[in-house]
């Protein structure tokens, strides 16, 4: 048997579970209910103010979530990667551990917590839930880059007269950008398409793009749902292209 034959099971798996669904999405997106080719599903989205509004909200929430994750995650990653501040591996595991528990379960628990405390569900609780869910995905790649970063860069900067503050801004931050862009990718993209968090944490008061896709599919409007899914895929694809530039830099996760 040739070595290349070993890849057959994977090719079959990819074909059935990745390529075929994508093809189906593509086919459904360009068909009407009777199976005829049409662009109407796509044009409908661009004239559907509800869908466009939801789309705008989704992007806005995703950007806000990503920014909050960077603001909270970067310092956390920096502290974790700093040997003088953090001497044990346990703290790192504590930060990563939420990733081990199903996000749906954590979200449900968070929703219950808000109910118990009598906090009204809305934008605030939505963002809280998202940050809570996605923060580890921001911390981990940044931590990875910072932990692997050669200490001599920081020393060289100090040697050339940079105060610790300047060292951080002029050397540490620029050199850790591959980690940040990995984190952005891992936080931003899933947030755009999420619907469970908004369902549980806002009682569907705030609808996200994922929610409309789910609603359409649920009410058997497969063709429009597929078109929306396609649009989302393209947007995600474009975002990842942007952050691809520094892909070759070490430590990046994707």
């Amino acid at each position: 048997m040739k070595r290349s034959h070993w890849s057959i099971p994977y090719v079959v798996f990819m074909a059935i579970f990745v390529v075929l669904p994508l093809v189906l999405i593509l086919v459904y997106a360009f068909q009407d209910g009777n199976g005829h080719f049409t662009f109407s599903n796509i044009t409908r989205f661009f004239s559907d103010s509800d869908a466009l509004g939801t789309f705008a909200v989704s992007i806005e929430v995703a950007i806000e979530n990503t920014l909050i994750c960077i603001l909270l995650g970067y310092p956390a990653a920096w502290i974790l990667a700093n040997r003088e501040l953090n001497r044990s591996a346990v703290t790192i595991i504590l930060f990563i551990m939420p990733m081990w528990i199903n996000a749906l379960m954590r979200t449900l628990a968070t929703a219950e917590l808000f109910n118990m405390l009598g906090i009204t569900l809305g934008k605030g609780t939505l963002l809280f839930g998202m940050v809570y869910d996605y923060l580890p995905f921001m911390i981990y790649p940044i931590y990875n880059v910072l932990a692997k970063m050669d200490k001599s860069y920081a020393e060289a900067a100090q040697d050339l007269g940079a105060t610790p503050w300047k060292v951080f801004w002029k050397v540490t931050v620029p050199l850790s950008m591959p980690g940040v862009s990995s984190g952005v990718l891992m936080v931003f993209m899933p947030t755009v398409s999420t619907f469970a968090i908004s369902e549980f944490l806002t009682n569907n008061k705030i609808k996200l793009f994922g929610t409309i896709i789910q609603e359409n599919i649920n009410s058997s409007m497969w063709n429009y749902g597929a078109a929306l899914a396609l649009i989302m895929l393209i947007i995600i694809g474009v975002t990842s292209l942007f952050s691809d530039e520094r892909k070759e830099a070490e430590g990046a996760l994707i």
């Binding site: 050669d150 860069y153 020393e155 060289a156 040697d159 050339l160 007269g161």
Partner: protein, 462 residues
């Protein structure tokens, strides 16, 4: 303190955990000097450099710059710049921005920065490379940029941490010459760290030889080469024949079981010493009147400029000799050594001496191990004792478990007819051993001593 000192290290010690890295270092460096800290890895040379640059703080002692203590000054305020071993050029900046990094921090005006970057690039022969990505440069070019980045800030002292270690031989030689020229041209103080003795001899005004956290010798390259103060320096710098000897009286020394005239005085009469003879200082002769001893040539290897020969002397010692002319293997040769070329050194030690305690009548605890010994009158269990063991009486065993204490071969010297080993035990003690067996550095050994070879005397608990 003399006025021309730029750096003074006074009684500086540094420990990491319970390991002493630097032990009471005293050193001064003159303005404009090219000083090299030389030693094997782990000798404390890089730690010394990092203490001066400020990345480490001494546990004891003080570091003075122009006579003022700089302990409290952080590295970014010290007027020194460093060329790092792996260059540490910022990968997110191009050559120009790397070099301009320090000047921008000092808020030097833009046009001034440009002028100075251009000037320093010319100095390191890297003009026209301003816009290059540093990662696209070769090792040698990165090194030049690293030197330029340090020099552009016009430091009072340039610190260089094994800057040429990553370059190939040819490039290293070229850079050595360039560094030397830069030093002459700029007139600033260079402190250079290396483990390469040849580099140190080529570059330095002054060499500081270090080993195990201590300064072994400070001197000019010629002093260090011709007059090493101990076996370590003699062995580390250049090739050498290190031999056991005996000072008979002033200007007369015995080694190789022959007597030689020498130029050393003041050792006393009939004193054991170590003798160093460089391989190029043993001469062949055909004149029986000049011949001091004879030998048989064992091997002869061409080394480019000279031949390297090993000979067995008439009294059974092995010597290394370098000469421009080869002598056939197996031939009998007549040899002599000039009095000037015999370097006599005080023996650092003549026996192993350990302070310990009697466990019972026939057991003594030394080096955290319990050794059997012969009962001795007047010494009872619990008494503090001093144990004296001759170098040749220590037995080394292949298996660590078979010894009373375990250790590793830490340092070894060939002394013409035997090896002199330094064993570092797991508990951190040094034992010195003379043996004919061949061991390698780093070998794990068990240490045993026969009861009759442990000489005990009672010790007053101070």
């Amino acid at each position: 303190m003399a006025d021309d000192h730029i750096i003074d290290l006074r009684h500086v010690s540094k420990r990491f955990g319970d390991k002493t890295i630097l032990d009471d270092i005293n050193l001064y460096i003159r303005k404009g000097e090219f000083v090299t800290l030389l030693g094997p890895s782990g000798c404390g040379k890089t730690t010394t450099l990092r203490l001066i640059s400020g990345f480490l703080a001494p546990d004891e002692g003080e570091i003075l710059l122009d006579g003022k203590d700089i302990s409290a000054i952080p590295p970014y305020k010290r007027p020194f710049n460093t060329v790092f071993q792996r260059y540490a050029l910022f990968p997110h900046l191009d050559v120009y921005d790397n070099i301009a990094f320090g000047l921008k921090l000092q808020k030097v005006p833009q046009d001034e920065i440009e002028k100075r970057v251009k000037r320093v690039l010319k100095l390191v022969s890297m003009s026209d490379y301003e816009d290059r990505d540093v990662e696209s440069l070769s090792g040698g070019q990165q090194q030049r940029v690293a030197i330029a980045r340090a020099l552009v800030n016009q430091p009072k002292i340039l610190l260089l941490d094994e800057p040429l270690a990553a370059l190939d031989l040819k490039m290293r030689k070229d850079m050595q010459i360039e560094l030397k020229e830069m030093h002459k041209k700029l007139g600033i103080t260079f402190i250079y760290v290396t483990h390469d003795q040849e580099e140190a001899l080529t570059l330095s005004d002054t060499i500081v030889v270090m080993n195990e956290g201590k300064i072994q010798q400070i001197g000019t390259p010629i002093d260090i080469y011709n007059e090493p103060v101990n076996c370590f320096v003699a062995d580390f710098i250049g090739e050498s024949n290190i031999l056991k000897g005996r000072m008979i009286r002033d200007r007369r020394v015995a080694f190789l079981k022959h007597e030689f005239d020498c130029v050393d005085e003041g050792f006393g009469e009939d004193v054991p010493v170590d003798v160093v003879v460089r391989p190029e200082d043993i001469y062949f002769t055909t004149d029986p009147a000049k011949c001091q001893f004879t030998a048989t040539v064992k091997s002869c290897t061409f080394k480019g400029v000279h031949y390297e020969m090993f000979v067995d002397t008439d009294k059974g010692y092995e010597l290394m000799i370098q000469d421009y002319d080869p002598y056939p293997v197996g031939s009998e040769v007549m040899l002599y050594i000039d009095p000037d070329d015999i370097q006599v050194m005080h023996k650092e030690r003549t026996r192993n001496v350990f302070d310990g305690k009697m466990v019972d009548e026939t057991h003594v605890e030394i080096m955290d191990g319990v050794f059997e010994c012969l009962p001795q009158e007047g010494i009872a269990a619990g008494d503090p004792v001093r144990a004296v063991i001759r170098f040749e009486d220590v037995d080394l065993l292949d298996n660590q478990e078979d010894g009373v204490v375990a250790g590793e071969v830490h340092f070894l010297l060939y002394k013409g007819d035997h090896y002199h080993l330094t064993i570092l035990t797991d508990e951190g003690y040094h034992i010195w051993v003379d043996t004919n067996d061949i061991w390698d550095k780093g070998d794990l050994v068990g240490v045993n001593i026969a009861p009759k070879d442990i000489k005990l005397e009672k010790r007053d608990e101070a």
